[in-house]
């Protein structure tokens, strides 16, 4: 019988998956992550934040993409929900007033777009750094736990002896 075969002579998939997960956990405990894995974890963390915030998944996909087409723009599409001649008139009026509106909106919108971009970079990089630090922290904690479990060097036995001596003299 090989290592994968259960007592009933069948290969047990649940057991194999358990072994796979154990092996992966072992690697993680030692803090062995590639850059791609860190990216993957960061994306998962960002996804979790977005789920909590309940934002539109389409917008999230755009936020995670390398381009910046999620940002606001000074330009805007002119459209109307009306139909027929009224629609054409409304669109024409909107086109006529647009240059005047943009005179007042372009500057603050452009500033807002730059702030959005900066915050986007800041947040994504912070999450990535947070993930890296958490990995390092877990690895260090596991190392410390392992060291605490090991017997100390022989010289450490001096202090209990000293204590004994003090008690004797007292």
């Amino acid at each position: 019988m090989d290592e994968w075969t259960g007592s009933d002579g069948r290969v047990d998939v649940a057991a194999i998956m358990g072994r796979i997960r154990e092996k992966i956990r072992g690697r993680r405990d030692r803090g062995l992550y590639t850059d791609e894995e860190v990216e993957e974890l960061s994306a998962l963390r960002l996804q979790a934040f977005a789920d909590d915030a309940g934002i539109d998944p389409d917008l999230l996909a755009r936020l995670m993409a390398p381009n910046h087409n999620w940002n606001i723009s000074t330009d805007y599409r002119i459209e109307t929900h009306r139909a027929g001649p009224a629609a054409r008139l409304v669109v024409l009026l909107k086109k006529l007033v647009r240059p005047w509106i943009r005179l007042y909106t372009d500057q603050p919108l452009s500033r807002q777009a730059q702030i959005n971009l900066y915050l986007h970079y800041l947040c994504h990089n912070l999450v990535r750094e947070l993930v890296r630090l958490q990995i390092e922290h877990t690895a260090v904690r596991n190392k410390l736990d392992a060291l605490a479990g090991e017997p100390g060097p022989p010289g450490d036995e001096a202090s209990p002896g000293g204590e004994k001596g003090e008690k004797a003299s007292g």
């Binding site: 998939v13 649940a14 796979i20």
Partner: protein
Amino acid sequence: MKVAFVVQRYGTEIVGGAELHCRWVAEHLARRHEVEVLTTTATDYLTWRNALERGLSEVNGVAVRRFPVARERDIERFDPVANKVCFFEHTDEEERRWAEEHGPVCPELLAHLREHERDYDALIFFSYRYWTTYFGLQVAPHKSILVPTAEHDRVLYLRLFRPFYRLPAAIAFNSPEERILIERITGNENLPGEVVGTGIDRPPAIPVEEVAPRLDLLGDYLVYVGRIEPEKGCAVMIDHFLRWQRETRANVTLALFGRSTMTFSENAHVRLMGVVPDGEKLAAIARARALVMPSRHESLSMVVLEAWMMGRPVLVNGDCEVLRGQVLRADGGLYYRRYEEFAAALDLLMGEPALADRLGRQGGEYFEENYAWERIVEKYERLLAMATGGGGRG
């Protein structure tokens, strides 16, 4: 018994998914009953464009009555309403609009059902989400069987489907997970029916060793079969595979069979094989190390059943409850949720051929026990008895 199958598309040119499932079941039940298929003249599920002749015809010995679709899907109208009902607060009216925009809107089919429902002893509807099923099943729910082919997606959460699932006399679920999912999300406990699934029609055998050189698949390879699109998890699968291949430098090819709607760069290790005849596809599966199924949304994966029928193991997306459940019940493959698990599972399947073969054999045994056509037809007979006995809740 005269049985009508109602389905959104039908024909030998429609491959995969619920439509093929419907055709196979209809062809097998036609050996025992008088079967007629009521469907549309559309072949494209994205546009519902009328492409086939309307009226009565025959497909593989089964009578097919086709009705024209009243209007094609307008993506400009469909996308906003689909986005609204799936992801935001919305009204019942918007859900009704979604059903109309989703289509295929086929009033003539509905009129035929209303006029002739007495001519049929039972009606079997495939895929809950389509207009033809949603409105058609309401014509005579007491003698209707629903094959939901439901996946865990946002559409199932729509309010309009809560009372709908209480209507049919019986439901043919594809898996225990699908039944639990539907009952939980629609808030309907103890829905009538049973877990059925489908058998697989095996085309005439083609020698495996003949197909591999023809397709230029000579070394070790993994196989994917189905629509090649990001929604099916293909982009992530290709990404994972290339990363694993880069890390291990393994000389393994991922062969993709099916129609592609996404762009990806083919190379020596990822190859687009296109659509091939069923016999060739099965022979290619039989020689593969394993079949990969990366989809997160499945109610029953027929290609997983095909892999088991050919004695090969599968590597499936563990985020899909149905696929994970199937693999665990069958002990017929492995599953993954993240890249690390994908890589570890591939290491095992490629590094231990004997283990892969045994998983494939176990999958084959499970397939024979649960999905042989005799078993499937028996189950449909029981459901037909429920529908004709008036045991429904409609």
